[in-house]
């Protein structure tokens, strides 16, 4: 199984490298989550659900350099719209926006050290500590 995952990661790397860099949604390798659907990802990043499929309290992490590309790929909205969305949710006190990571390393570090973290990185920066649950093509 691990072998297969590696193979996919390698394949993704090759194809991504050739065309455009895709964005991979990643979790801690020990999270126990094999895969997530796009809806699952949307529900967590847009503040609908606070829990991961494994029942852990979710900790979504935004990565500033990729953030615009990520939301564009995920819900087809620009940053202004996303900000406006969160502004509304925050105002009503219903939910809080994802944690902000300034760099990829910071984001990876957060995911690696936090089993309930859910982050995203450019596929170029995938490391073996990260577990890819969904790849977003641009």
């Amino acid at each position: 199984m691990t072998r297969f995952r590696h193979f996919i990661a390698a394949a993704l790397l090759v194809t991504g490298g050739l065309a455009h860099a895709d964005i991979a949604v990643v979790t801690n390798a020990n999270s126990g989550i094999a895969q997530m659907s796009r809806s699952d990802v949307i529900n967590i990043f847009m503040g609908r659900y606070r829990k991961l499929p494994n029942g852990e309290l979710a900790l979504p992490i935004d990565l500033a350099p990729v953030k615009a590309r990520f939301y564009q790929a995920l819900v087809d909205k620009n940053l202004a719209e996303i900000n406006s969305w969160w502004a509304r949710l925050v105002f009503s006190g219903q939910a809080s926006p994802p944690h902000q990571a300034e760099t990829t390393a910071q984001a990876i570090s957060l995911v690696v050290h936090n089993p309930s973290a859910l982050g995203y990185v450019d596929t170029h920066h995938l490391t073996s500590e990260l577990h890819v649950v969904l790849v977003l093509h641009e």
């Binding site: 809806s39 949307i42 609908r48 949710l89 009503s92 219903q94």
Partner: protein
């Protein structure tokens, strides 16, 4: 109410307006129903469009509420919608059946719900919940009613306006001209030749035609009135003329009723019938038969004289002796139960006629009948004998012996004297109903009516011969004795024919002459003679 009905009955304008208004109202009601229907429909649709718009307005917020499952936000949305008065209830229900919001207002009625799916704001194809909006039907109905009422009021105003206009138009264009004509007509003096004037502006339309027709009728009436008057005058003149004739004419003019009583009689009639001045036949109703007596028309004849145009005449005698007067009455039927009569005094004419008649059949010398008289008498006898064949009559022919000798010797005056004497003799011998005639010369004929007994005839003749034997005194010196040969035939015994009887009597007379004169012979058949 009765007043109103009376007003409607007498006012054309009101009636016209009422009828037109009624029709307009009926049409208007139809249109109103249609308009209200359409208006209600569009109003309903407008309300629903509004509701749809409301839903669109709150869609994004609803999406968020649904996406987050946020009851507060959903409740906010529902309350916000309820602010609109046409919204009665709002329900937001998640796909799982979880009710996010259910808000309602207490007033109004529930209308049919408008429901819409709410999708995720991030995934277009994923429905998260449904929002159902139930409108307040009461509000919608009120709005529809409001719109309809506006239409109705507008229509009503229009109706009133139309009615008013119709009344004004009818009053101005129809009623007033007609009233004007009516007033002028009642004041019009048609006989002076005045004409009815059409109201100004109406000369060429139907009212003008009406006026023209009325004028034509007035003309016609006036002309027939004057014609009537002329005829009446004419008739009066005619009447006077008739009256003058009636009063002054010599002929008696009278009229009878159905029972033959005098209804009208002129003065001449009174004179003719010697009616007293004070006797008014008209008042007393004298019957004509009473005045006329015998010879006049009988009551039956009067009553049944019913052929119009055919006159009938009677001649009747009034009085007796020298005062006897003859009156002719000519009756004409005027109409049923009415006879008109004319009476003339024909006494003179009658007497003249009678005298002439007598003269024609009389022998001027002897005063006996002449040949014409004899012939007439024989004709009467023949007719009589045909009717009563069993009754015989004796015919006697008498011829003087040697009468020519008397004439030749003593002259015609002597002959005439002899003839007069013999005629007087014969007259004394025969009865009232027997007839004597001088046939001419010295030949006499006697008709003894109803006489069939030869012995009686013989006795009469014997007496005659005996009387004749006395000498006739011609003058103081001359006295002559005459003889006569007489032949007798009896009609009914010897023959049935009058002329033959006369012939037989003649033959018998000649036999008497041959037998020695101054005797008589009865007719005998040839066998009797030879035997």
């Amino acid at each position: 109410m009765a007043h109103l009905i009376e007003l409607f009955r007498t006012r054309l304008a009101l009636r016209t307006a009422a009828i037109i208004l009624l029709m307009v109202a009926l049409l208007g009601a139809g249109f109103l129903v249609l308009a209200v229907e359409i208006r209600a429909d569009s109003e309903q649709r407008a309300q629903y469009t509004r509701i749809e718009e409301l839903l669109s307005t709150v869609e994004r917020t609803t999406q968020i509420a649904c996406f987050l499952g946020d009851r507060e936000l959903a409740g906010e949305v529902a309350d916000g919608l309820l602010v609109n008065r046409i919204v009665r209830e709002v329900r937001i229900i998640r796909q799982t059946g979880d009710v996010l919001a259910d808000a309602r207002s207490e007033q109004g009625r529930t209308g049919p719900a408008i429901s819409r799916a709410v999708y995720s704001p991030f995934e277009q194809a994923q429905p998260l919940c449904r929002i159902a909006l139930i409108p307040d039907q009461q509000r919608i109905d009120d709005a529809v009613f409001e719109a309809s009422r506006f239409l109705a009021v507008a229509l009503l105003l229009q109706l009133a306006g139309v009615g008013l206009c119709v009344v004004l138009v009818v009053v101005h264009f129809v009623t007033r001209p007609i009233t004007g004509i009516s007033h002028r007509l009642s004041r019009l003096e048609a006989e002076t030749g005045h004409k009815l004037q059409a109201p100004r502006g109406n000369q060429h339309d139907e009212i003008g035609q009406l006026v023209a027709s009325v004028n034509a009728m007035i003309d016609h009436l006036v002309s027939s009135l004057s014609e009537e008057r002329r005829l009446r005058l004419e008739r009066e003149v005619e009447e006077r003329r008739y009256r003058t004739i009636f009063d002054s004419v010599e002929a008696g003019i009278f009229e009878l009723d159905g029972e033959g009583r005098i209804v009208v009689a002129n003065p001449a009639f009174r004179r003719l019938f010697r009616l007293a001045e004070e006797c008014d036949p008209v008042r007393r109703r004298v019957a004509l038969t009473e005045l006329a007596g015998d010879g006049g028309p009988s009551i039956e004849e009067l009553v049944h004289h019913s052929e119009p145009g055919r006159a009938r005449q009677w001649e009747l005698a009034l009085g007796s002796g020298t005062l006897r007067r003859w009156i002719s009455i000519l009756l004409n039927r005027l109409e049923e139960g009415r006879l008109q009569g004319v009476a003339h005094d024909i006494t003179e004419r009658k007497m003249a006629t009678d005298a002439a008649e007598r003269l024609a059949i009389t022998d001027p010398l002897t005063g006996l009948g002449n040949r014409l008289g004899m012939e007439r008498r024989l004709a009467v006898i023949a007719r009589h004998h045909r009717l009563y064949p069993e009754r015989p009559h004796a015919l006697v022919v008498l011829d003087f012996d040697h009468f020519k000798h008397v004439n030749d010797t003593w002259g015609h005056q002597a002959g005439d004297r002899v003839l007069e004497h013999v005629a007087a003799l014969l007259t004394t011998l025969v009865g009232q109903r027997d007839y004597l005639a001088r046939q001419g010369g010295d030949e006499f004929v006697m008709v003894l009516e109803g006489q069939g007994q030869r012995d009686q005839v013989a006795a009469l003749l014997a007496r005659f011969i005996e009387l004749l034997a006395d000498p006739i005194e011609l003058d103081e010196e001359v006295r002559i004795r005459m003889g006569a040969s007489i032949g007798v035939a009896i009609l009914g015994l010897d023959t049935e024919d009058v002329q033959e009887a006369l012939h037989f009597a003649d033959q018998a007379m000649y036999r008497a002459k041959r037998a020695g004169r101054n005797n008589w012979r009865f007719h005998q058949t040839t066998s009797e003679l030879s035997g």
